[in-house]
């Protein structure tokens, strides 16, 4: 009896293993579709300013490529000859949930590749699992440099430059446009992104503007805290004339609302590294004269920029969703374009529908045209993107009755990031050798 049960068990195990292997072998490219999960915040405080616009950006470009309606160089139908079937997944709920969801997507839903992720915490948690499950994962927004510095991921890519580039570009803009800044302080969220942003900005400022001095007590309120009255008082009492912030989502909007009523922006220059979504959301309530960046050539920074791809994206997005595309719309669309470029390249090289290994080989070190600029995957052994980053100053446009950025400066990649195989922080501390900007 026991022997019979043992045999039955072994048979069931062998059958299930065979079935599972068959499913894996046939999951990719079945029925000429490539199944992709796009992960972004669809609920919670980050959904409005980041998650939903990101999802819309990806959705718009995926549909257009599937239908062959995008302008050149993405005017061929499909991704390497196949269509993408996209499913949209919520990033809310913390890292543990994201890891479980990722496993579910790969092992049960049969997803071929995963795109997206906004939070640095999500990216750091997902990358090891992507390696374990050997699944192509292309990250869109997260900014921590630690994703590839000290790690050698084979299946993970990121199409967004990391936080060091944002911070160096911010310091360059201050040096070039504001010039006389000597004392500065900051208010940043108390987690990896906020802490890293302040640290890199502080180092870059001291290297680029010798004699400048950062505050000893910058503010680090909890993410999504909502109430900043005490922090605003503290910043107002400081002598520093410039305030740096990497606030994003509802936090930047709440801060601006609370600070503007107290005359904060009349007394301090303010630089917002990642708060561009608030410029659109708050409209006239967002103070003019604020330095704003979009972490690349995205959103309001390139709204007036000419170019067939950019103009198509803005018009198609407005037609479909009724609003202008924001920073994350561009970032997610950029990730989809990277996948399209890699799959087309792999298909051209193989002469057939590419498999996973061929797509990954094509993506490594890829150079591709994004909506408003070019992107190269040159850092992180060909897995980490570099691209120019711009800043501008907010102003109100009476003609369009909407916000705009003026005095825009866009810094090339060699000014912003270290050469291959050098750690960002070491490069910053060494006064950015090779970046003659």
């Amino acid at each position: 009896m026991k022997k019979g049960m043992l045999h039955s068990g072994l048979l069931a195990l062998a059958l299930s293993a065979f079935t599972g292997a068959s499913m894996v072998a046939h999951s990719a490219f079945a029925d000429d579709t490539f199944k992709v999960a796009v992960v972004s915040f669809l609920t919670g405080p980050a959904a409005g300013p980041f998650g939903e616009p990101g999802r819309h950006g990806a959705e718009l470009v995926i549909d257009a490529i599937n239908e062959g309606t995008m302008p050149a160089p993405y005017d061929s139908v499909g991704f390497g000859g196949v269509s993408i079937e996209a499913m949209f997944v919520d990033e809310s709920g913390g890292n543990a949930k994201q890891v479980a969801e990722y496993r579910n997507l790969i092992e049960k839903q049969g997803v071929d590749a995963v795109l997206g992720y906004i939070s640095s915490g999500s990216c750091m948690a997902i990358a090891p699992v992507a390696e374990e499950l050997q699944t192509l994962t292309v990250m869109s927004v997260c900014g921590t440099p630690r994703l590839f510095e000290g790690n050698n991921w084979q299946y993970t890519f990121r199409t967004q430059a990391h936080a060091v580039a944002d911070s160096v570009a911010a310091a360059l803009y201050i040096r070039d446009q504001l010039g006389d800044v000597k004392d500065y302080t900051g208010i940043n969220q108390n987690y990896a992104w906020g802490q890293d942003s302040w640290k890199f900005f502080d180092i870059a400022m001291q290297k680029l503007i010798p004699g400048s001095s950062g505050s000893d007590s910058p503010q680090f309120p909890k993410i999504f805290a909502g109430q900043y009255g005490t922090e605003i008082s503290t910043l107002l009492l400081e002598d520093a004339d410039l305030v740096h912030s990497s606030f994003w989502d509802g936090d930047i909007e709440a801060f601006v609302l609370q600070a503007s009523v107290r005359g904060f922006f009349d007394k301090k220059r303010f630089i917002s590294v990642a708060g561009a979504s608030a410029v659109d959301n708050l409209g006239k309530r967002f103070p003019e004269g604020t330095v704003v960046g979009t972490r690349g050539e995205y959103g309001i920074l390139v709204r007036e920029q000419e170019g067939e791809l950019n103009e198509w994206f803005i018009n198609a997005y407005r037609e479909r969703y009724g609003v202008y595309p924001l920073e994350s719309s561009y970032q997610y669309a950029q990730t989809v374009l990277a996948l399209k470029a890699a799959m087309d390249k792999a298909a051209a090289e193989s002469g057939d529908t590419p498999n996973k290994e061929q797509i990954i080989a094509a993506m490594k070190g890829l150079e591709f045209q994004s909506l408003a600029g070019n992107v190269s995957l040159t850092l992180g052994d060909g897995h980490q993107a570099v691209h120019p980053i711009g800043y501008g100053v907010t102003a109100w446009d009476d003609e369009t009755d909407g916000p705009k950025l003026v005095d825009i400066r866009i810094y090339p990649t060699h000014c912003l990031l270290p050469p291959v195989n050098q750690m960002s922080e070491e490069w910053l501390e060494a006064a950015m050798p090779g970046a003659d900007c």
Binding site: P45, G48, T230, N281
Partner: protein, 298 residues
């Protein structure tokens, strides 16, 4: 002097905010012995109702001060509707069960209320800054302060006074005291405990909604705003003693002042200080600073 005044005002404004959002929680626990996690949902619905109605009023061209009236109206509507429906349809069926079952039910309700917000209002933020802009700012201690935030102090004092007055100077207060002391004896002497419960829950829900509605002009009203609030409210209520209104007041002042001190002098401790106070109080007085005396049954 300037720094001291600023610190004092910052601490008191934050304490007022904490008291307003936590007093409803402590009233419901004090009377009904329900640890109401759904309180965060009332806060969020209050914020959304106020932000939405203020936005509509602005579109209709109504004056900015009208938003102040809408804050009161929307919080009462949220408290009445949700408080009544939840007490009648769900909680009333659970009173005979253990407290932990009711706690889980309110947690489920919290999630439902959050999802209802997504269903009704979507994910995009709402702004209702008109009342805050209308009240403007005033220079105190060398820096400008917005009058709207300072008005939180007045609102907190008003709420505290009304609670004190009702509990100590009215027949309703005496009835509440009796129900808090012993539900069964209250029933035996003819008190309609069912009515007391439903009104207590409505008042608790209204106070939670009032917290959200009053804060809405200062924030971006977006999904998830209530999560931090419910955690902070619990911290304040635990410090002061579950079910004690003076305890909630003292707890809010302690947390508010210590947090302000941390932000001004040791910003890196800001996250830590609230829960450090809670841990210390729990070590010394596990029942909280002002927990009401418990009945000893013989």
């Amino acid at each position: 002097m300037q720094a001291t005044l600023t610190l004092l005002l910052d601490g008191l404004v934050y304490a007022s905010y904490l008291f307003i959002v936590s007093v409803g929680l402590t009233i419901v626990f004090g009377v009904m012995k329900i640890l109401n996690v759904a309180h965060g949902g009332f806060y969020a619905w209050g914020a959304y109702a106020a932000a939405y109605s203020i936005g509509v009023a602005a579109q209709l061209g109504l004056p900015d001060w009208f938003g102040l009236i809408l804050i009161g109206v929307s919080s009462m509507c949220v408290g009445l509707i949700f408080g009544y429906l939840i007490e009648r349809l769900i909680l009333r069926r659970l009173y005979q069960h253990e407290e932990v079952i009711i706690l889980l039910a309110t947690f489920g309700l919290f999630l439902v209320l959050e999802d209802l917000i997504l269903l009704v209002f979507g994910v995009n933020p709402y702004f209702a800054y008109q009342p805050m802009v209308y009240l403007g700012s005033v220079e105190l201690g060398g820096i400008f302060r917005d009058v709207y935030s300072l008005s939180l102090l007045g609102l907190a004092c008003l709420v505290a006074f009304v609670c004190w007055y009702i509990l100590n100077r009215t027949k309703w207060g005496k009835i509440l005291g009796t129900v808090i002391y012993d539900r069964e004896i209250s029933l035996a002497i003819g008190i309609n405990v069912t009515t007391v419960y439903v009104w207590t829950f409505i008042i608790g829900a209204t106070l939670g909604a009032l917290g959200g509605a009053y804060i809405s002009p200062t924030i971006s009203v977006a999904p998830g705003i209530s999560i931090d609030v419910i955690v902070l409210s619990f911290a304040v209520v635990v410090i002061g003693g579950m079910g004690s209104i003076p305890g909630a007041l003292i707890g809010a002042v302690m947390v508010g002042m210590l947090r302000a001190l941390a932000v001004h002098q040791f910003p890196e401790l800001e996250l830590f200080v609230v829960f450090a106070v809670m841990a210390i109080v729990l070590m010394i007085r596990p029942e909280g600073l002002f927990a009401p005396a418990k009945v000893r049954r013989i």
